[in-house]
């Protein structure tokens, strides 16, 4: 018997730390250190070593008296033994009965995301990620298998078992993530009333036992640009077209000489190249009884609009520490501190910086001769975006502490009990300074009375008027949640029978509170003094307000799993949830789920060499959505009850919204059928799922009988459960992995998800609900209606352009003769009434849906010796976008498609004439609906890992350098800034109110390990 030393490397000869090395038939063994090296003493000469590591094919090696061995592990593409987290327990890919997408942290980190969700886009089938804004620090919308509800569609997000909200995910540094598991089907029901929108389980990195300290440093620096500039008219074209517009309307052309050259490119003035940088350091390792990962990071991203006026900065520090206190007792401690700072400009909608940018007059200069900001007085409702940015002071600061203490006790080989306490505390400070500013005559955004910045006066009583100075508004909000969980896991195998069971309880509380104050008259009208402490303490206009809410959830859950050999698996669970969000009559709900799988390839009759592994899965489960406004079931005395006594208004009380003691969660029932296949000698793995997800008991506030008294001042009708929406579709994931040559490894992953969303029912008596708005003062734009997808666009269908007056006269359909001339849009008479009705809805029809037919992701990776290359594409197909960022003002700038406007019979059948006359061309029609499909190269990266010999010279074990680009290429026909967006509210998700585009960034970085 003698010691054996060895070194374990991956297919690229990189050291693999943490690999288990075991003498076969014994419990004797160790794990490799940071250099991939191990040493085992007293190894019999005829021993066999078992070398195993998750994600790699295990190997056995006969020692044969060797004292020094080298092992190269190859990746196991099938990863059938990969651990899958299913909530209060784990299973393996092989035994999984539900539908869970697993994304490896390393795959995410390679994409250099600022936020975790960015990296999830295109990585997991069934998971749709779209930006709510491209501004730094902005959140993303995560939608799992479509829009489940007209309310809050956010999935349940647990980071190390601590609940996070979607906004709160910003606090997480993506490179701290070990894995993400997304529970998509009914088996998510183990999370009961919170699971209807799917569950995202994020695990952070933990360090490894028996490992020397490893120091990982990574960082990148890059430059960002807008992904797109809109095609706008230059000054010359603008002048020509405006002259035509006015002349056509019988007015005086505004430009005597239209030869104004290029003029001002407002997009050049507003967009800038903005830096982005990120640095992480993590120290990890462990002893025989403990493991740890300690790290910190710094991220700073400036905005492509406004630089640091829309910048985001994050510091974060993290400790994960696990120790075996007693032989069977493990204590795990997770602590995360984050400090975030975000500055924001007005974005989305009229009045936003970009809205002003694209509608500003290109013939005007941004500057006056004295160097001050020009007033854009010719376009009445547009202000100088540069002045606007300079005068915006809007900063949020977040301090956040998240932690978990967990104790795990292995009672014996079969029983294991876990108890944990988690907390998530965020202190959010918002500070908004509103200086006195003047943007020119008659601008709604003026806060000063004139260019000398004198204050306006306001009348506070019959004989007293006071000046309205600048103001500073500060809001401090604390968000706190805490949870206690305890559960018992049982695991035993009797021959071919494998039994697992879980029994547990959970308590969760939220306690949020906020205080806001506004103070007037900051000295010198300067942000340097913008604090309430510096304002007039007795100003009449000063005001304060506050709110608080608390909600709680109490749960018990049980799950049983049974496996017969490796062929058949069955699992059943039920959770009982009680929530303060529900009315007294429905405080508790039960959420069952069942699932099963059959591994055909284990059957003796399954004899084909073409298929290495084949499993059929089915699941059905009930889950809920408890994201109901706090106290929605209660009658609160917040109605208006005011009456004059002695001619003075007395404030009484009255019931506001009528309560509903029957109010309850939305219920989602989901069926899932799946198949997993490995073919071509395990080089290709395929996972396909078909799902039908039906959510009923959606929340609405429809009209009710007035005899309950819901129509007094400040009163409203109860929130009720009524209405159903269904999502169904297919998910397919194909992974291909091969070794093309000795050192050339290629992997390709492709996933596609189809979503068919349909409203099945609305509350009795309700035909539809209307949402959104089009243009300024325009009508509603979208509807929720039975038989249609949520938030579909309702408007007029066009049928070309009227070319001649004769065509208008002879059409046989009357289209408001007073406002219709040749060159105008020709609308379709939907109801066959021979008249286009512009006051009612009878000639409106569905002109688009914001929900894509399919979303796709494609990931390509290649390794050749030390060189690695990867690319990730994301595509959305078949969705429409409502273009709603064009002002219809006579002097606002226009997109270049107006070059092709109608100018006479036969000139175009697509773009209407330009005129100041009243026309119907501006009503919501399919002219404003565009195909929102796109393909985007989300990330492309080329890296080089330096040879060991060189790296060792600087004392490091690994050094990789790379160049990467995010959002480098986008293929789309959409005219707006960025098709890759969605609004949070599912009913207006496809309306582009002037979206802040996501940045294209080019960066260089390195990964260094000591």
């Amino acid at each position: 018997q003698s010691p054996v030393r060895g070194r374990v490397t991956d297919e690229n000869d990189q050291p693999l730390p943490g690999v288990n090395v075991l003498i076969k038939g014994t419990t004797l063994g160790t794990v490799t250190d940071a250099s991939g090296e191990f040493r085992i003493d007293n190894v019999p000469a005829d021993a066999t070593l078992q070398i195993s590591f998750i994600g790699y094919t295990s190997q056995e090696l006969a020692v044969n008296g060797q004292s020094n061995v080298a092992v190269k592990l190859l990746p196991d593409v099938t990863s059938l033994d990969e651990v899958v987290v299913i909530g209060y327990g784990t299973t393996t890919v092989k035994e999984l009965t539900g539908s869970v997408a697993v994304v490896n942290g390393n795959d995410l980190t390679a994409l250099n995301p600022v936020r975790v969700e960015q990296a999830l886009q295109g990585q997991a089938a069934g998971v749709q990620i779209s930006a709510a804004s491209g501004s730094p620090g902005a959140g993303l919308n995560i939608r799992i298998r479509g829009f489940t509800t007209n309310g809050d569609n956010t999935p349940l997000i647990l980071v190390d078992d601590v609940p996070y909200d979607e906004d709160g995910l910003a606090a997480l540094n993506p490179s701290d993530i070990e894995t993400i598991n997304v529970l998509k089907d009914g088996t998510a029901g183990i999370y009961g009333v919170r699971a209807a929108n799917g569950v995202i389980l994020i695990t952070t990195k933990k360090g490894k036992k028996n490992a020397k300290p490893t120091i990982d440093f990574s960082g990148y620096y890059g430059v960002q640009q807008t992904t797109k500039r809109m095609d706008l008219l230059d000054a010359h074209e603008y002048a020509v077209l405006k002259n035509e517009t006015y002349a056509s309307g019988g007015g005086t052309p505004p430009f005597a000489n239209p030869n104004l050259g290029k003029g001002t490119d407002w997009q050049d003035e507003v967009f800038e190249d903005a830096p982005i940088q990120n640095y992480n350091i993590t120290i990890s390792g462990g002893s025989e009884k403990s493991r740890y990962a300690i790290g910190g990071s710094y991220m700073n991203q400036q905005g492509i609009v406004g630089g640091d006026k829309s910048g985001y900065r994050r510091y974060n520090a993290r400790v994960n520490f696990t120790v075996d206190i007693l032989p069977k007792l493990t204590w795990e401690n997770v602590l995360l501190y984050t400090n975030e700072r975000r500055d924001m400009l007005p974005e989305m909608g009229i009045g936003s910086v970009l809205f002003n940018t694209i509608n500003a007059n290109p013939a005007a200069s941004p500057w006056k001769e004295d160097g001050s900001y020009a007033f854009l007085e010719d376009v009445s409702e547009v202000i100088n975006p540069l002045a606007q940015m300079a005068n915006t002071f809007n900063r949020n600061t977040v301090n956040k502490v998240v932690g978990k203490q967990e104790i795990n006790y292995k009672i014996n080989d079969n029983f294991e009990v876990t108890g944990r306490a988690g907390y998530n505390y965020a202190l959010v400070d918002e500070k908004q300074f509103n200086p006195l500013v003047y943007y020119g005559a008659n601008k709604a955004q003026n806060t000063a009375a004139n260019a000398a910045l004198e204050p306006n006066l306001t009348k506070v009583s019959d004989d007293l008027s006071i000046p309205v100075y600048n103001n500073i508004r500060e809001t401090r909000t604390t968000y706190f949640n805490y949870n206690f969980e305890a559960f018992l896991n049982y695991n035993r195998t009797f021959g071919v029978h494998k039994i697992k069971a879980t029994l547990g309880t959970s308590m969760l509380g939220y306690d949020n509170r906020s205080l806001t104050g506004t103070g007037y008259n900051v000295p010198y009208n300067s942000n340097d003094f913008a604090d309430i402490s510096a304002t007039e303490s007795n100003n009449y206009l000063n005001n304060t307000s506050s709110w608080q809410d608390r909600t709680r959830l109490l749960s018990q859950f049980v799950r049983a799993e049974y496996g017969y050999g490796s062929k058949y698996m069955l699992s059943a669970s039920v959770r009982r949830d009680g929530s303060t969000a529900f009315g007294a009559n429905n405080r508790f709900g039960y959420f069952p789920a069942v699932s099963g799988a059959w591994v055909l390839s284990e059957e003796s009759f399954f004899q084909t060499s073409a298929i290495q592994f084949m499993k059929l899965r089915a699941s059905y489960g009930v889950s809920g959505n408890d994201k109901i406004r706090p106290n929605g079931f209660l009658s609160l005395l917040d109605g208006e009850g005011v009456y004059p006594f002695d001619n003075i208004l007395a404030n009484g009380v009255a019931i506001g919204r009528i309560g509903n003691p029957d109010l309850k969660w939305e219920t989602t029932r989901q069926a899932n059928f799946g198949v997993d296949l490995n073919i071509l000698q395990d080089k290709v793995s395929i996972t396909a799922d078909y799902y039908v997800k039906t959510t009923k008991d959606l929340l609405f506030q429809p009209d009710i009988s007035a005899i309950v008294g819901a129509y007094g001042a400040g009163s409203s009708t109860p929130i009720i459960n009524g209405g159903t929406v269904r999502n169904r579709g297919l998910e397919l994931r194909i992974d291909y992995h091969t070794q093309l040559a000795e050192n050339l490894r290629v992997n390709i992953g492709y996933n596609i998800t189809t979503i068919h969303n349909e409203v099945i029912a609305l509350p009795p008596g309700v035909d539809f609900f209307e949402f959104g708005s089009f243009s300024v003062g325009g009508g509603t734009a979208t509807r929720m209606q039975v038989g249609h997808p949520m938030g579909y666009f309702l408007g007029y269908e066009t049928d070309g352009i009227y070319q001649t007056q004769a065509e208008i006269d002879e059409r046989g359909v009357t289209q408001d003769p007073a406002t219709t001339s040749p060159g105008d849009l020709r609308f379709v008479d939907q109801d066959g009434s021979k008249t286009i009705d512009f006051s009612g809805d009878t000639d409106k029809t569905r002109i688009g849906s914001p929900i894509p037919d399919a979303i796709m992701g494609l990931n390509v990776g290649m390794n050749f010796k030390g060189i690695d290359f990867s690319a990730t594409f994301y595509a959305s197909v078949g969705n429409e976008i409502l273009r709603n960022y064009e002002r219809q003002l006579p002097m606002s700038n226009m997109l270049t498609y107006n070059r092709g406007r109608w100018t006479g019979p036969g000139s175009t059948d697509e773009y209407p004439r330009l005129t100041t006359e009243a026309t119907r061309n501006n009503v919501l029609s399919d002219f404003y609906i565009e195909d929102g499909s796109f393909v985007r190269l989300k990330n492309v990266q080329l890296g080089y890992t330096l040879p060991r010999a060189i790296v060792n010279r600087i004392g490091a074990s690994r050094l990789r350098i790379y160049v990467a680009a995010n959002n480098l290429l986008t293929f789309t026909k959409y005219k707006g800034f960025d098709p890759d967006f969605s609004n949070y509210d599912p009913n207006v998700s496809g309306i582009d109110y002037g979206f802040y585009p996501q940045a294209k960034s080019i960066m260089g970085g390195l990964n260094l390990t000591f």
Partner: protein, 474 residues
């Protein structure tokens, strides 16, 4: 352990933890007064449905429901009627909320608060029964939405019985005078009770309570008919029951039920008006020539009640400078002068909506005429007293019409005529015509057996799901 999820919201007054101090009762009562401030609809429909006025406005689709009522073509889909239904039931609910919690606390002033609440419930139900006939009667509790479908339309007699009970309770609890302007008094309760009796042809009972108002209430006719309706003369001796309005809060078209000003006044205003005394408005509810001509020759109440715009302009110093326009909703040349927007009575904000002018729902002249009618029509008629009351109205100094000397049905007709001219433009005419059986002969398009009541809003029938039968012939 399940108690963990049984917590109350913090710092929030919920309907269930209220009524802990006398102030709570007072505040709930103020909340119950509030829905009365939608009385513009009561006034409008009471006039427009009758032969007194036309709907007017910007066009025939401007507040279309009023035009339909004007033409007697109204049906179950009518926004104005639906609003009235909604707001009166909001009032009922707010008073029931107080009754539901009446036993939670005992305190000195409680009898008065309960008395005022009784009056308010009586008022809201009187409005409902007067417009719609049989309506669901919900008393002393808030109706849970789940019980709507089991509510039947309570026969009008039973609704009236509750109204009588409530108004009597109010009269018993309240004083003739109140130190606070705007609070309901014993006189208001008895006068409304008298009116409720009259609407049921219970003349003996009406005569009794109205006599009590006349003899014990300390009311008197105001000495200037024309200026009685001005803000400066609010709270005069003639005021029996006013709905109070002030102009200090502003308001918007988005929420009529939220207004603290009297919306009728601005809406009655002269469209596009530019000139002295009056102010620009929306030209709604325009008096007819029929009403103008109903006044006896020399009756000063005609020119005090109706503004003849052309005559007014012609009498001004510089008539050529005065401008106004007519709306496509109709024009008669007359405006409702009792409630007409004046340049010296404007509220804040959009002053079409925020008039500070009070709505004189019951004034002493009405009480005298109701008493006269009751004494004249009761089984053992007292025409002497009836005539005395009638002549007191006619011959008061600011009117100065000759005393009449009539008996029997001639006296009845004289009282009816007197009611029309004395109370012109005050929203009573339609209901007077209906209850006296004269509607069919006076109102074009009025169909007997149908138009005595308005249709229940069809949406309300549908939403209730209680198989309510629509009123006959609608």
């Amino acid at each position: 352990c399940d108690d963990f999820v049984n917590v109350d919201p913090l710092y929030t007054r919920s309907a269930d933890n209220f009524f802990r101090t006398p102030t709570d009762y007072q505040q709930a009562l103020t909340g119950a007064y509030d829905p009365m401030q939608t009385s513009y609809l009561d006034l409008w429909i009471g006039e427009i449905a009758s032969d007194n006025s036309i709907a007017g406005g910007e066009g025939v689709t401007d507040t279309e429901g009023l035009h339909q009522i004007d033409a007697m073509t109204h049906g179950g889909v009518n926004n104005e009627l639906r609003s009235l239904w909604r707001w009166m039931y909001a009032g009922v609910t707010r008073t029931n909320y107080i009754f539901e919690n009446r036993d939670k606390l005992e305190f000195d002033d409680k009898a008065r608060i309960m008395g005022e609440a009784s009056f308010l419930r009586g008022y809201y139900y009187f409005e409902l029964v007067k417009f719609f006939g049989a309506v669901p009667l919900i008393v002393d509790r808030q109706l849970p939405p789940g019980e709507v479908s089991s509510q039947v339309r309570t026969p009008a007699t039973e609704v009236y019985a509750q109204i009588e009970k409530d108004l009597q309770a109010a009269a018993d609890a309240l004083e003739w005078t109140t130190p606070v302007k705007g609070r309901i008094t014993k006189g208001a309760a008895l006068a409304l009770l008298g009116k409720a009796y009259l609407y049921q042809n219970k003349f003996t009972e009406a005569a009794t309570v109205l006599d009590q108002v006349i003899n014990e209430g300390g009311y008197d006719l105001f000495n200037n008919f024309e200026t009685m309706f001005r803000v400066v003369n609010e709270g005069s001796k003639e005021t029996v029951f006013d709905i109070e309005y002030v102009g200090v809060e502003g308001g918007s078209y988005g929420c009529f039920v939220c207004l603290e000003g009297f919306a009728a006044v601005g809406f009655h205003g002269i469209r596009g008006y530019d000139g002295p005394v009056y102010a620009d408005g929306n030209s709604y509810n325009l008096p007819t020539k029929d009403l103008y001509d109903a006044f006896e020759s020399g009756d000063p109440r005609r020119d005090a009640s109706i503004l003849d715009i052309e005559a007014f302009i012609a009498a001004q110093e510089e008539p050529g400078k005065i401008k106004y326009v007519t709306g496509a909703g109709g024009h008669t040349g007359y405006y409702n002068k009792k409630y007409l927007k004046r340049s010296d009575e404007l509220g804040l904000g959009d002053n079409d909506l925020t008039s500070p002018v009070n709505h004189k729902v019951i004034r002493f002249a009405d009480v005298l005429l109701m008493a006269a009618e009751a004494h004249n029509r009761k089984p053992s008629a007292n025409d002497n007293l009836a005539l005395q009351y009638l002549n007191r109205v006619r011959t008061r100094p600011s009117v100065g019409m000759a005393a009449l000397n009539l008996t029997g049905t001639a006296l009845t007709e004289a009282i009816y005529r007197e009611r029309r001219v004395e109370l012109a433009g005050e929203g009573l005419r339609f209901f007077d015509l209906v209850r006296t059986g004269k509607a069919a002969e006076e109102i074009d398009g009025f169909e007997a057996g149908k138009h005595e009541v308005f249709p229940i809003p069809q949406d309300e029938i549908d939403l209730a799901g209680a198989d309510w039968q629509q009123n006959p012939k609608y």
